[in-house]
Symmetry: C2
Subunit: 130 residues, 2 copies
DNA sequence: CAGAATCCCGATCGATACTG
DNA sequence: CAGTATCGATCGGGATTCTG
């Protein structure tokens, strides 16, 4: 036993380190897209589904549940006919959204550089193969 | 041909959107850990391996290659005996590191909230099941 | 409309062994 | 030391079907 080995800060390599949990959440492609889809206000399930487009109903449902579990998204059901369900970001998610926006901003500004590097690298590799 | 379909900004849902490429890179758990491991200077292959600990040499090698391809990491080999290879961040990766640091900071500050939300949620679910 | 349950394929990843 | 190659197990995730 003697559990809880040193949860060292800044040591995200240790699976025991709680930071890893958040990193894994960010690492979840769908989770990030869902969070970004919700940043302008509450959205219903199927609308969310259509917005993201590429996501399957299963993954959306699954992603929403895990985000709700982590307190990043809240669910509200209305007893209309048929039933309506809205998802929205929690205050906790607010700060995270800011960072995610920075990532997309960075991506938009530097995607050209990355694509260029990729082409240059691939050209080099191709030359070697020839 | 007629490639490059509308790379709409802010529309990361579209797989054709270049932003997705970066999101996928971030979504790569190992890639993020490798980048963070390199932020204090160049590191040799096996040292990197030992630092991250949980990574297999296959994944490390694979991750490094893709990061190099994207111009985020550069490789330098020295003809010592035995051979020495150093990996370091490129200038391009600099800005990205700043954002990744923000993520780990956010994670460290809010992991408590998330864990608490998770426990509360699980308790509720357990109550339902009973 | 919102979601749960089932089936199932293929990408991912780890362990192992070999090379320069 | 710094990798590559191969194999096998795991599992994420899509398509489909059914319910409240």
């Amino acid at each position: 036993m003697s559990s809880t080995p040193p949860p060292r800060v800044g040591d995200a390599y240790n699976p025991d380190c709680p930071t890893r949990h958040i990193l894994d959440r960010i690492g979840d492609k769908w989770a990030v897209l869902v969070l970004l889809s919700l940043k302008d206000g509450p959205v219903r399930f199927n609308l969310l589904r259509r917005r993201i487009g590429a996501i399957s109903q299963k993954m959306l449902s699954q992603t929403l549940k895990s985000l709700e579990r982590d307190g990043l998204v809240s669910r509200a059901a209305f007893a209309t006919v048929p039933v309506t369900v809205e998802y929205r970001l929690t205050p906790l998610a607010g700060g995270l959204i800011g960072i995610l926006d920075q990532i997309t901003n960075w991506a938009e500004t530097h995607v050209g550089d990355i694509m260029a590097a990729r082409r240059a690298h691939d050209a080099g590799v191709e030359a070697m193969a020839a």
